[in-house]
Amino acid sequence: MSGTGARENVFATRMSLANTKQRLKGAQTGHSLLAKKRDALTTRFRAILRKVDESKRKMGRVMQVASFSMAEVTYTTGDIAYLVQEQAKLATFRVKTKQENVSGVVLPAFEVDRVSGSDFNLTGLGRGGQQILKAKEVYAKALETLVELASLQTAFTILDEVIRATNRRVNAIEHVVIPRLDNTIKYIMSELDEMDREEFFRLKKVQAKKKRDTAARAEEAEAKAQHEQPTLVDLALDGDAEEASADLLRSKDEDVIF
């Protein structure tokens, strides 16, 4: 009955029953809270999923445009790759992170943080300058898209991980913790019932024995009484005689008093 399924190793007492019931209640509350959290996260996750898909495709187009403008630069100014690589010293295009909270999960979001200065002075060669400026702007735009995509993707990765952890917890509570507590409660109940029955039976037994004993004693007494009836009569007779004498004495005494 109570032996089926895993249960906790407790003594079957009323206190442990109360404790276990409380824990079961706690587990159920926790379960519903976690399930709510999971639902909230999943809603968010679905929205992000769609956006990630969208912006990945958008990125493909944006990068194509950017590559094209780069090709224009190469066409007008020749190869500037080496020059540009040598000029790179300090990043002017950085990102800032801010965080957003979705039901207890911190989701970072990147923001573009452009610092002016440290421009490429040497690239203003001839007609190429304009093209380079244009390419620079196009690439900055593309990078903005990339940064946006990056924050979406980070949120995606983190949410994915958190949802999985939450799911694990929800399932663990649902399929392990709650059945275990249920089993424990059932076990304690059955043990207590068993003890009750045992106690009841014991009391009945004691009562029956007492009854039997009293009956036996009564019977014995009766039997004795019956046995001793004649002697009692004799005694009574004797008593009568004595009584008479006593009466005599008493009357005598009375007489004395009067």
């Binding site: 999923l49 990630v52 898909d53 990945k56 495709r57 990125m59 493909g60 990068m63 194509q64 950017a66 590559s67 403008s69 780069m70 090709a71 190469t74 500037i80 790759a81 540009v84 690589q85 000029q87 790179a88 010293k89 300090l90 990043a91 002017t92 295009f93 950085r94 990102v95 800032k96 992170t97 911190v106 970072p108 990147f110 943080d113 452009r114 440290s118 490429f120 690239t123 380079i132 390419a135 620079k136 196009v138 690439y139 900055a140 593309a142 990078l143 990339l146 940064v147 995509l149 990056a150 924050s151 993707q153 980070t154 995606f156 990765t157 983190i158 994915d160 991980e161």
Partner: protein, 120 residues
């Protein structure tokens, strides 16, 4: 979540890509050389050995100041096992298309997961 504690100092964008992609992104101003003379970009051409790409990839993913790591898809393809194994949130790994290799969504490790989740 130890990874989220340190994301405040991350503000650089690192790039592993071919020459054109690097040049364009550097023009936009992502280039940075730190105190140890370490660049945050790696130019990959046909002669670059895969081991170098992989080493750089690992180095960038372990650096604490990089928030986003951009990598050309055709280069990511060369070190695909390493890229697919990378699951951390920081730095964010983004596969970008290059001039000669148009973007193929089916190869992206993140998009693969997206597709899988949508398919379910």
């Amino acid at each position: 979540m130890a990874s989220t504690t340190s994301f405040k100092d991350r503000n650089l964008i690192a790039v592993i890509g071919d020459e054109d992609s690097i040049t364009g992104l550097l023009l936009a101003g992502v280039g940075h050389i730190n105190e140890q003379q370490k660049k945050n970009f790696l130019v990959v051409d046909s002669k670059t050995p895969v081991a170098t790409i992989e080493a750089t990839f690992v180095e960038y993913t372990e650096r604490k100041d990089i928030a986003i790591l951009l990598i050309n898809q055709h280069i990511a393809e060369k070190i695909r096992p390493t890229v697919d194994k990378y699951q951390q949130a920081f730095p964010t790994l983004l596969e970008i298309p290059s001039k000669d290799h148009p973007y193929d969504p089916s190869k992206d490790s993140i998009l693969k997961r997206v597709q899988k989740l949508f398919g379910e």
